[in-house]
């Protein structure tokens, strides 16, 4: 059991708080529902504090509860890895809960109880130290989030989304069941301790890897198992999408790391390559999908796919180096991946909360009807802009740091022994570079169309600033983005114990380097100093401004837009989201989505407008999801005749079964 000094007790209390208020809210409804968010805030901060101390001390605590599987009981363990992800999870939860405080007018028994339960489940996954506890919490996470996705149940789209989501989640869970089954062996050694110590032959390991990649990939949204994200995220309430996209996908990453780095022991040579390729594909496809969207939340969902791909790339690099005994480089790559986990949690939650603010202010998710929101909601705009810069991996914010670290790891490819891997790494680097540029373009589109220009609809015109809770939630996340962007050194050092635990080594200490610069490998190799850069930028920009305003001119006149002398008052003259993406679509979309543009001109003289339409095909969805579904349905229709036979025919079936069994027995005996 657990004594009070044990930090686990703290985490248990946090989880208990969440579950408790979930049950209370479910039981009493009404005003009790309002209890959820304050309690979640408390629980999350408690958990963050505890996890932070655990991470920094790099200590491990375990406990053994008489629950769960009767044979082994419920094993609980918290180490640096789970502590780190605990921090990620609970920061996200904190922000979402803070945003949720603003919902006090639209509390619903369909959302609030499940929100708390969902948060609790995610924390439980991180603490589980046996297969049953892990999968129990894992699937509980899926179920609760399913309930949240279907909260807006009047919407048929939401129902469909929820169905697809829970199906994919269950596929993933079953894959993980297989993985743990294979790891535990027929004897059923389900606790992680015995899994770690177990010896297994390469075939089994291969099975486990395949299963784990499917299981965690479907939760993290790796292509081609990503189908649920673009459906579920728009359907769920925004602070929940923030939680699902920013946090839950990270829990999936945790599962992957836990198995690949901790439970399975030394990875095989090709594993890293597989993870790398998966990551590269998801990164590129994710951002391309995103560019084709004009539903803000779908767009963000696809960017989650992209960022998960980047994280996979980092993990793949780390595995590659690890399998070649280059532990220091493995530590670098792993740090990059984990840093991106952290960053993505921050800016993706921020962006989803921003999207929520927009949705709340205008009731619209479709970019094509937004515009000019920077005027009515300047603060949201600022926060959203910071999120956009961060996710586009632009200096000096945090998104860039993790991608820069990933590039540093890629630059180490010459130290690998095999030529194919040497070449694969820069190839992945190329993909990373390409998708970074595309991501920037995509967020120029997102921010530019939504916040800049002139409003494209009445709803956008009547928009209002978000409530103070939402703003403070976004502000916290934005500040964290800036902080972790400016002082990455501390972050890298904080991951030292984690790397030690998983790889036996860690990156050189950063926080002692002057000017908070980071030098991942060596002074001559590379260095980056976000702090200095931002100081220079601010100083230079400020100085220029002041100089000009004092010594040149400060005169300013407001006037109608010039627009080459032919200004058009109607806002529909502006570029739309689709229009903005059109050149990019022409270049990348023609193959990827077999995009067909069709213009039908009216005959000369007729006054009907010409129509321009684009047809995109989501090949992955059509091939991997629709087609099998259709087959299954066809089969079930065929089989359905067995419901409508006559008694005689049923008797014939029985008779046949009997005779054939008799014959079988006669033959085998």
């Amino acid at each position: 059991m657990v004594d009070a000094a044990n930090p686990l007790a703290m985490l248990f209390i946090a989880i208990a708080l969440l579950l408790g208020c979930a049950m209370l809210a479910a039981a009493f409804r009404g005003r009790v529902l309002g209890l959820v968010y304050p309690v979640s805030l408390i629980a999350a901060s408690l958990a963050v504090a505890t996890d932070l101390s655990i991470l920094l001390n790099g200590t491990t605590f375990t406990a053994h509860l008489p629950l769960g599987l009767p044979t082994i009981g419920l094993r609980v363990r918290v180490d640096a890895l789970s502590a780190f992800f605990g921090i990620v999870v609970n920061i996200g939860t904190f922000a979402a809960a803070l945003y949720g405080l603003g919902r006090h007018k639209q509390l619903s028994a369909r959302v609030e109880p499940f929100f708390a339960a969902f948060a609790a489940a995610m924390n439980m996954v991180l603490l589980a130290d046996d297969a049953f506890g892990f999968l129990f919490s894992w699937e509980l996470m899926s179920v609760t989030s399913w309930a949240l996705v279907i909260a807006r149940h009047e919407d048929a789209e939401a129902r469909r989304a929820a169905h697809v989501y829970l199906m994919l989640a269950s596929i993933g869970t079953i894959a993980l069941l297989f993985a743990f089954g294979a790891m535990a062996g027929p004897a059923g050694g389900y606790d992680f301790a015995s899994i770690r110590s177990a010896e297994r032959d390469p075939l089994v390991t291969g099975l486990v890897l395949a299963a784990v990649l499917v299981g965690t990939g479907s939760k993290a949204g790796i292509i081609p198992l990503h189908a649920w994200l673009p459906l579920a995220h728009p359907a769920a309430p925004s602070h929940v999408s923030a939680l699902m996209s920013g946090v839950m996908t990270k829990v999936a990453i945790y599962g992957l790391i836990r198995v690949l780095f901790d439970l399975l022991g030394k990875p095989s040579l090709w594993l890293g390559a597989i993870v790398l390729i998966l990551g590269a594909v998801s990164t590129l496809m994710g951002v391309l999908y995103a560019l084709m969207q004009h539903d803000l939340k779908r767009l963000l969902a696809y960017h989650t796919v992209e960022n998960i791909g980047i994280i996979f790339i980092g993990l793949g690099l780390s595995l590659t180096f690890k399998s070649n005994n280059l532990d220091a480089l493995a530590a670098l790559a792993l740090t990059a991946a984990l840093f991106h986990v952290f960053n993505h949690c921050l800016f993706k939650s921020l962006l989803f909360l921003g999207a929520g603010a927009i949705l709340h202010a205008t009731g619209k998710r479709d970019l094509e009807v937004l515009g000019g929101l920077i005027h009515p909601m300047p603060l949201t705009a600022l926060a959203f802009l910071i999120g956009c810069i961060a996710i586009s991996a632009l200096p000096p914010l945090n998104g860039f740091v993790s991608e820069w670290l990933t590039f540093q790891a890629i630059l180490q490819s010459p130290s690998l022994p095999h030529l194919p891997m040497k070449i694969l790494l820069p190839t992945v680097g190329a993909v990373l570079a390409l998708s970074a540029a595309l991501a920037a373009a995509c967020f120029v589109k997102a921010f530019g169309i939504a916040f800049l220009g002139r409003p494209r609809s009445q709803a956008a015109r009547d928009a209002h600033e978000a409530d103070s809770f939402a703003l403070s939630a976004m502000a916290i996340l934005a500040l964290l983005c800036i902080a972790s962007g400016l002082f990455p050194g501390f972050f890298i050092d904080a991951l030292g114990s984690l790397n030690h635990a998983l790889l036996g080594t860690q990156m050189p200490t950063q926080s002692t380097i002057p000017w908070f610069s980071i030098v991942p490998i060596g002074d001559v190799r590379s260095s980056y100093d976000p702090l200095l850069i931002s100081i220079f930028l601010l100083f230079c920009a400020g100085a220029t401004a002041i100089f000009i305003h004092f010594f040149a001119s400060r005169a300013l006149r407001r006037a109608p837009a010039w627009d080459c002398g032919f200004p058009d008052p109607s806002p529909s003259i502006q570029y739309t989201a689709s229009g903005f993406a059109q050149p990019i679509r022409r270049i990348y979309g023609t193959i990827t989505f077999s995009a067909k543009e069709q213009v039908d001109m009216p005959p000369p003289g007729s006054s009907t407008p010409a129509r321009f339409s684009v047809k995109l095909h989501d090949h992955i969805w059509e091939l991997l999801y629709l087609a099998p579904a259709r087959y299954m349905l066809a089969i079930s229709e065929r089989l359905n005749v067995f419901q409508f036979l006559t008694v005689r025919r049923y008797l014939i079936l029985m008779f046949a079964a009997l005779i054939s069994l008799l014959v079988v027995v006669m033959v085998i005996t």
Binding site: Q643, L645, I652, V665
Partner: protein, 219 residues
Amino acid sequence: MNEAYDVSHFLAGLMLVVSFALIYQDRLLAVLRTFAIQAIVLALAVAWQALVQDRPNLFITAGLALGLKGIVIPLALHRMIFRLGIHRDVEQVVGVGLTMLFGLALTALSLMLVLKATASAPAVAREVLAIALAIILLGFLMMITRRNAVTQIIGFMSIENGLILGATGARGMPLVVEISVAFSVLIALFVFAVFVFRIRERFDTVDVEVLERVRGDRT
């Protein structure tokens, strides 16, 4: 002992022949009569077993077989058939010849199976058991090849006959069994009565087709 074997052998064989006759018959009334004959033979067989194994309680079973299956049920069905005016028609799904062939195959199968399995058992038991299995399978066959409710019922009851034959053939099977058999027969009768009458009061025919109009879950 020897004539014991002979007689039981003879009666059992007779039952088998009769159930072949059952399959062969294509007139409802004839089927009914044949069934009655089978029941009577069964009664004899059971009585003989009672004699040989000197287990008087078997006489109860014999009596039940004779009384119920030999007399009461046939009469009841007989009356019903006439009331429904369907005493002429009979319909078979498969032609008689084919059915007979099937029957022969099944008999062969059951003989092979049982004789192979019961190498160690006493001769009587082996014989009786093999034939009992054959009768059961033939009854099954009859249920499959007839569409008429009455014939299906009769097929079912000839299965029961086979069971009773087998049960009594197995030496010293405790009273429980006879009770169960008798009692199953009673329940059978009861349920059939209920059903057949309910069918009549609803549809004025005992063609099973009317029991398969809905077949569930169409709407």
